[in-house]
Every structure is written in structure tokens, then in C-alpha cells.
């Protein structure tokens, strides 16, 4: 059995986002990192691998800079890496999903872990869409997964709390933040990872014709600046603020 984890490289959460000529200026991003929820997916994918569920492949689709993220994943224990080289920034959900579904098939994976939402798109579309394309059961909002006989047991968030669910493969888990420590690579891991070869392909190599995007992006803009607020010293100002909330803001 092969387990796949989908990792996306995004601007670090601390990075400033600048807009130039109607698009987010990728060139000005100071630091790129693995999307936060994907790190939880990676941690549980490693745990599944260690409990004997199978080999683990890390898959990304992105520009050449994303390779570094795969090497980082190898340093903590990923067996192999697939990099589909493409610029995803103007792709719609359908295009990116068709590439990733083909990549998963290419690796022969029947268990897929990913993040619930990427920190750049903020969408949460990819996991469920890919599950549908590869005919896998989809479990979202996952914070824990383990092997359970021939299948898997997962903890997922629900509107009323949490649910323990079981699924058989093929299946996909989209991860929320989990209550686990993330592992950091050690020196040996980093050395080993440098020797590992990343398989690099194009969407065409996977037999995918992504066609035209069905969504036309008009513009990216910086969020509107908020007018400076009013600041008050000391707890004595609480009645004033409450009065303003009622009279100026009309929210209470």
C-alpha cells in the first residue's frame, strides 16, 4: 500500500503580502513554508507509515522553489517525492485537482492525507475534490488518524463536537490542526534527504490536459485600510467605550 501526502508551499504566516499590478507579488515574499495544516497531515502520514501502513510519498504541484519543501519532508521520513512542476497561481480548483489526482494515481497511492485549507487560497476545495476524482471516501476536519484492521479510524470535528469514524481505502483525510507535536528533522535525516532524488514531472507527463481556467481573476488588492481607531487609557474609560459601542457603532 502507498500513502500520499499533499504538501503545498505557501508564504510563511509571518510574511508580508504585497500586491503589484493586480496580483500578489510572489517575488517579494520573504519566506516560504509548508502550509500549516499540511504539516499535521505530514505528521499523521509519518505515523501511519511507521505503524506499517505502507510507503509514504510526498506530492506537490508548484514552481521549482517548492522542491525545498519536499526535501524538508524527506528529512523527517518521507520515502519518496513527486514534484509536478507548474505555476498554480492562476489555476482554478478543477485544474489543480486534476493534476493532483493524476499524481496520486501515478504513485499508486490509495490513502491520501492533505490539509483542510491552504494558507494562500484559503479554499478547502482540493481534498474533497480530489477524493471525488479518485473515487476515495473523504473525511474532513480530521485531527487524528490510525490504522484499524484493514481500514482506518479517524477523529473529525463535527458541528456538535467530535466524531470517531472508520473508513476503508481508498480514502482521503483533510487535516485540521491536531493536538500533536510536529517533528523536526535531525542531522542524519537532513543528510539522508539530500541524497534522495525528487521525481520531477510536468502535468503533460502525467497525461493531464488542464485546459483553460474556468475562473478569470480580475485583480488582487490589498485589504482596505481601517481608519485608525480610538484609544483610551485605563479602566475608567470602559463606560465611554460601551456608550460608543451602543451609539456610534450600534452593535450592542
Amino acid at each position: 500500500m502507498t500513502i500520499a501526502v499533499l504538501l503545498k508551499q505557501v508564504p510563511d504566516t509571518t510574511a508580508k503580502i504585497a500586491v503589484s499590478e493586480g496580483r500578489v507579488d510572489q517575488g517579494s515574499v520573504s519566506k516560504w513554508s509548508t502550509s500549516p495544516y499540511d504539516e499535521y497531515a505530514l505528521e499523521y502520514a509519518l505515523q501511519l507509515k511507521e505503524s506499517g501502513a505502507g510507503d509514504l510519498v510526498a506530492i506537490t504541484c508548484g514552481p521549482s522553489r517548492s522542491s525545498k519543501m519536499l526535501t524538508d519532508a524527506a528529512a523527517v521520513g518521507v520515502d519518496s517525492m513527486l514534484h509536478v512542476e507548474a505555476d498554480t497561481s492562476e489555476m482554478d480548483s478543477k485544474q489543480i485537482q486534476s493534476i493532483l489526482a493524476a499524481a496520486i494515481k501515478h504513485c499508486g497511492a490509495d490513502v491520501v492525507l492533505c490539509g483542510k485549507q491552504a494558507a494562500d487560497t484559503n479554499s478547502g476545495s482540493t481534498g474533497p475534490g480530489v477524493a471525488s476524482l479518485i473515487g476515495a471516501a473523504c473525511v474532513g476536519m480530521v485531527s487524528e488518524v490510525s490504522m484499524d484492521g484493514d481500514g482506518f479510524s479517524a477523529l473529525r470535528g463535527s458541528p456538535s463536537g467530535n466524531e470517531r469514524v472508520v473508513v476503508s481505502k481508498p480514502c482521503l483525510f483533510a487535516f485540521d490542526k491536531a493536538a500533536t507535536e510536529l517533528r523536526r528533522p535531525n542531522v542524519k535525516g537532513i543528510m539522508m534527504a539530500k541524497k534522495k532524488v525528487i521525481e520531477k514531472v510536468s502535468p503533460g507527463d502525467l497525461g493531464v490536459d488542464i485546459g483553460e481556467s474556468g475562473i478569470k481573476i480580475h485583480a488582487h488588492d490589498s485589504p482596505p485600510e481601517k481608519p485608525p481607531g480610538q484609544k483610551f487609557e485605563g479602566a475608567e474609560s470602559v463606560p465611554t467605550v460601551v456608550a460608543k459601542l451602543r451609539e456610534e457603532a450600534n452593535v450592542i
Binding site: P11, T13, T14, I17, Y37, S93, K94, Q97, K116, A119, D120, N122, S123, G124, S125, G127, P128, G129, A131, S132, A137, C138, G140, M141, S143, S153, G157, S158, P159, S160, G161, E163, R164, V165, V166, A174, D176, K177, G214, I215, K216, H218, H220, S222, P223, G229, Q230, K231, F232, E233, G234, A235, S237, V238, V241, V242, L245, A249, V251, I252
Partner: protein, 305 residues
């Protein structure tokens, strides 16, 4: 134009956001069909103004959430632009329906304009994207961003028996600890951070919340430091994105990842003892004080209203 709305449900009832979805659909103009998974809220749904037809989908497959099974049962009834809520389940269903229809999905819109011009925030609120679709698409809408439709409708109600193969089996359901309102549901939120000093001090936030019917949230530092504060309360980049009318941040410094989850709140109040805390940069009303001094007075003033 045909519009299909996926009703958002909450237990055995229609969730209030459903009426907002209908309000938004109404602004686009067109014939609106509303799908009720599991038949939940069908009679209430048929009274939402502007809805022409309610399709009540009955079947065992709706007894627990399985986006694969639900979307398989719903997709044949989806025509034209499909609209769902951007709740976690709404997004999951929307993506699966889009994939089954072979169309793109655009999530968490905060505005829709003429010719389906879509506005959404990206990069955790650090940028705004506007786009249009060249053909059909599925969209999800952010809660509390659109006006609700009225309730003087009289839609035709059609019941359909659906079967679909369920592959996610629920073994155990664990209810949330406590009965408090969820931050993603609330119109007023009061959140505490590491500055609260001790999880027991959240009781002071609860007391204020009870006076104004608010939900209580938390920063990641509070959630990570204290077991008593569950992740379900976390607001921010790796927690919940909220946009209430009023957000009160207490003992929260205002790290960029926290702002990512709450900066679109209509009004923000910050209580922090450090006059230079970055949270004051986004606050409409900032109070430089300790929570020990400010909260008792806040509770008292709010109780007077």
C-alpha cells in the same frame, strides 16, 4: 439563470445562514431551487422568500455526514450556479459537487456583484481577490456577509427518495464540552489570550459573554498553553475565521496569525495592558488596562443596557 442552494442544517433544523444564501441568490436574479439534505427543515425552507422549489432529499445516506455520499445524491438535482455555506461541511459538499459536475468551485465569498463578480479574501485576509466565472460554477458564501431573505415565500415542495453508498461510518459521537455558543455562530465574540494568566480566569470572560449573549474565543497561545481551553475556541490562521459584528480581544497581543482570523469583524475592541500591543492597530476602540481592572466594569456597564 437557475440557482441551486444547498441548505445548511444544524441538528434537525435549518441553519440561519440558509436564508442568507437565499438572500444572496435573490440578488443575482433567477429561479431558485433549494435542496434539503435528509429532508431537514423542508417546511421552513419552503417559506423562504424567493425560493421557487424545495427538493427534500430523504434517505438513509443522510443520517450522518459523508460528503461523498451526500454529493452523489445531490448532484443530479443541481442546476446552474450552485450555492452553499462556507462552513466546513458546506465547503466539503461544494467541492465534491463541483468535481462531479466538472465545474470549478470558489469558496468563502464575502460579496457577489453584477455578472457574478466574486470577492473573497486570500492569504488569510492579507489580500482580496475578485474574479468571474466563464461558465457554470459552485460557490460558497461566508456566514453573516449577506442579507437574509424574508420568510413570506411559498415554494413548491418535492420529496425525493435518495440512495447513495455511504463509506464513512460514525462509530462514536462526542458532544462538545459545555453548552457555550460556538465562535463561528456568534454575532459577538469575547476572546482571551495568554494575558488572562490562567485558564480559570476565562470565567470572567464567560460572565461578560452571558450578559450580551456572546461566544467566548481564545488565541492559540491560550489553547496551546492550557488543556481547559479547547482548539474549537481558537480564532486565527489555524483556528476559526470569524466575522462577528463585535469582537472583544482581552489579553491578546494581536499576532498576525490571530488577526488573520478576526480582522474582518465589523467592530473590534481591545483590552490590553501594553499600549504598544499590535492589537490596538486593528481595534476601533482600544482600552489600555489590565483585564482585572477592565472586565468587572465592562460586565457592569453591559448589564445596565
Amino acid at each position: 439563470m437557475n440557482i441551486t442552494i444547498i441548505a445548511e442544517t444544524s441538528g434537525n433544523q435549518l441553519h440561519s445562514v440558509t436564508s442568507q444564501l437565499a438572500g444572496a441568490a435573490g440578488s443575482l436574479g433567477g429561479t431558485i431551487t433549494l435542496l434539503c439534505p435528509g429532508g431537514v427543515g423542508e417546511s421552513e425552507a419552503s417559506k423562504i422568500s424567493g425560493v421557487s422549489k424545495v427538493v427534500s432529499l430523504k434517505g438513509d445516506c443522510f443520517s450522518s455526514f459523508d460528503s461523498g455520499a451526500w454529493s452523489a445524491a445531490m448532484t443530479p438535482h443541481c442546476e446552474g450556479v450552485v450555492i452553499a455555506s462556507s462552513s466546513p461541511t458546506g465547503r466539503e459538499l461544494a467541492s465534491q459537487i463541483a468535481s462531479k459536475l466538472g465545474v470549478p468551485v470558489v469558496q468563502d465569498l464575502t460579496e457577489i456583484g453584477q455578472d457574478l463578480k466574486m470577492t473573497r479574501s486570500i492569504y488569510s485576509g492579507k489580500a482580496i481577490e475578485t474574479s468571474t466565472a466563464s461558465g457554470s460554477c459552485v460557490i460558497t458564501l461566508r456566514q453573516n456577509s449577506f442579507e437574509s431573505a424574508g420568510s413570506d415565500g411559498n415554494a413548491e415542495l418535492i420529496t425525493v427518495d435518495s440512495t447513495s453508498e455511504v463509506s464513512v461510518a460514525v462509530k462514536e459521537a462526542m458532544a462538545k464540552a459545555g453548552e457555550r455558543l460556538d465562535v463561528s455562530e456568534a454575532d459577538i465574540i469575547i476572546s482571551g489570550g495568554r494575558g488572562m494568566g490562567d485558564p480559570a480566569n476565562f470565567s470572567h470572560l464567560n460572565e461578560v459573554a452571558d450578559v450580551i449573549g456572546a461566544a467566548v474565543g481564545a488565541s492559540r497561545a491560550a489553547v496551546d498553553s492550557w488543556d481547559e481551553i479547547p482548539h474549537s475556541m481558537q480564532v486565527g490562521q489555524t483556528g476559526k475565521t470569524v466575522n462577528p459584528s463585535l469582537y472583544i480581544a482581552v489579553g491578546i497581543s494581536g499576532a498576525i496569525q490571530h488577526l488573520a482570523g478576526m480582522r474582518s469583524s465589523k467592530y473590534i475592541v481591545a483590552i490590553n495592558k501594553d499600549p504598544d500591543a499590535p492589537i490596538f492597530g486593528v481595534a476601533d476602540y482600544g482600552i489600555v488596562a489590565t483585564w482585572e481592572e477592565a472586565l468587572p466594569s465592562l460586565k457592569e456597564e453591559l448589564a445596565k443596557l
